[in-house]
């Protein structure tokens, strides 16, 4: 059981800056994120896209913003729990007991949800017949590539994941690569290599086609694909892999007794607290009159939620507002010299 002053759910820009604010005012915190990397939507959705509306930063990419926030957090030793989704949240006396998908447990008076639009989950094949084979012979990620040795693998998608795996698995398996159009969004060098292997007969490349249905007795045996002209084709296959990117699901947050508005959590604008005492929501996931889904709004919300945490984490102390330019205490926390 890990005890901390505040637990942050979500390692996107808002979660990172909220951690900074907590540490500045002398509170401990740890961060959990379902993704296996830090940065949230900035890293998962638009690492290379420039952002133009971060105050005092005329232009930066999602990746640069994340790196700068991490740099700003460097004086503090923040513990990240990546690849873990917060599944359970229960009130226990005045504290919250939190449990993740990997079984990590926390006890904390404050939980700050900085969850963007929920947790990222792989987007699945539309066909209902796929469900019976999922996680066995229909997969959305690869943990052990050895299981494909000598087998026929049908890969769907047109991005880097689909094409990288098509190249990799073509060394040891028979690969069908199926994409809904004839342009690919993967890196050009990868696309060229796939086309080369396709011309050499080493990858069976099928474009302008999508999965229609699957069949098999106990395990996947055959897939049926359909092209733009509604012509269908059956292919024998041992595995089907879908790489259609990630979708955002509110997930377990929906079960925590919070007031929800569509996929967002309602908060007040003083503490950014939800209807549950000690649970806050900041960034894209929170909702209040006038809410703007901007990164800068998330920073403001996190700064206020952090101050609200102080009261519950240090009930016998009084929070005193201080500036980083002049406070000796804050400078000590930052590890910089005072004048």
């Amino acid at each position: 059981m890990i005890k901390t002053d505040a637990l942050i759910i979500g390692a996107g820009p808002t979660g990172l800056f909220t951690a900074h604010q907590l540490k500045l005012i002398g509170l401990d915190c740890e961060i959990v994120d379902n993704l296996d990397k830090i940065g949230g939507q900035c890293i998962e959705l638009y690492p290379d896209k420039p952002i133009y509306d971060i105050p005092a930063i005329p232009e930066c990419t999602g990746e640069e913003l994340t790196n700068n926030l991490l740099e700003q957090l460097k004086p503090f030793n923040i513990k990240f729990h990546l690849g873990e989704r917060v599944d359970e949240l229960k009130k226990d006396n005045e504290k919250w007991k939190v449990k993740t998908s990997k079984g990590t447990e926390f006890e904390t008076p404050n939980v700050i949800i900085a969850g963007g639009v929920g947790s990222f989950e792989p987007r699945k094949f539309p066909s209902k017949e796929c469900e019976q084979f999922e996680n066995k012979t229909i997969l959305y990620s690869i943990k052990d590539k050895k299981i494909f040795d000598g087998k026929t693998v049908s890969i769907f998608g047109g991005g880097d994941s689909a094409l990288d795996w098509a190249l990799e698995l073509s060394k040891t398996s028979k690969v069908n690569l199926i994409h809904r159009r004839d342009e690919f969004r993967a890196a050009q060098a990868t696309v060229d290599k796939v086309k080369e292997l396709s011309n050499a007969g080493k990858i069976n490349l099928i474009t302008n086609s999508q999965l229609k249905t699957v069949s098999g007795n106990g395990k996947l045996e055959e897939i049926e694909i359909e092209n733009d002209n509604k012509e269908t084709k059956k292919l024998k296959t041992d595995f089907a892999l879908g790489f259609f990117g990630l979708i955002m699901q509110l997930g377990p947050i929906a079960n925590w007794g919070l007031n929800l508005n569509k996929k967002t959590v309602e908060v007040d604008t003083e503490k950014f607290e939800t209807n549950q005492k000690g649970i806050y929501a900041v960034g894209d996931i929170c909702n209040y009159p006038g809410k703007l889904r901007l990164i800068l709004s998330g920073f403001h919300e996190g700064a206020l939620a952090a101050r609200a945490c102080f009261k519950l984490a240090r009930p016998n102390e009084k929070y005193r507002f201080e500036f980083t330019t002049s406070s000796k205490t804050i400078k000590n926390r930052l590890g910089v010299k005072s004048d």
């Binding site: 539309p126 991005g159 994409h179 979708i247």
Partner: protein, 106 residues
């Protein structure tokens, strides 16, 4: 201003007036039309405002944005006439536009 008709997958139709300068996605969200999630808020980063546009309208609306097809790759059941409604701009020229919504967005 343009009248936009959103037709749900079950056939239920919603016609609303949408102000010029908004997007077809915003028209749906502001009028609480079910079936357009718009998780990313119009940033062309999620493909949850996916719609189908019939041929007669497909060429009248503004062309696809750069990168829009990359996101449509990730939509639920994309077709040739798929668009992201956050990239369709509303103007008097598209008065009467009908868009069909997919079975679901994710």
């Amino acid at each position: 201003m343009a009248k936009i008709t959103y037709i749900e997958n079950n056939g239920k139709s919603h016609s609303v007036d949408v102000a010029d300068g908004l997007t077809v996605m915003e028209g749906a969200v502001q009028n609480n039309i079910p079936g357009i999630d718009a998780d990313c808020g119009g940033g062309m980063a999620c493909a949850t405002c996916h719609v189908y546009v019939k041929d007669e309208w497909f060429d009248k609306i503004n062309k696809k944005s750069e990168g829009e097809d990359d996101m449509i790759d990730q939509a639920y059941e994309p077709k040739k006439n798929s668009r992201l409604s956050c990239q369709i701009l509303v103007s008097p020229e598209i008065d009467g536009l009908e868009v069909h919504l997919p079975v679901k967005q994710v």
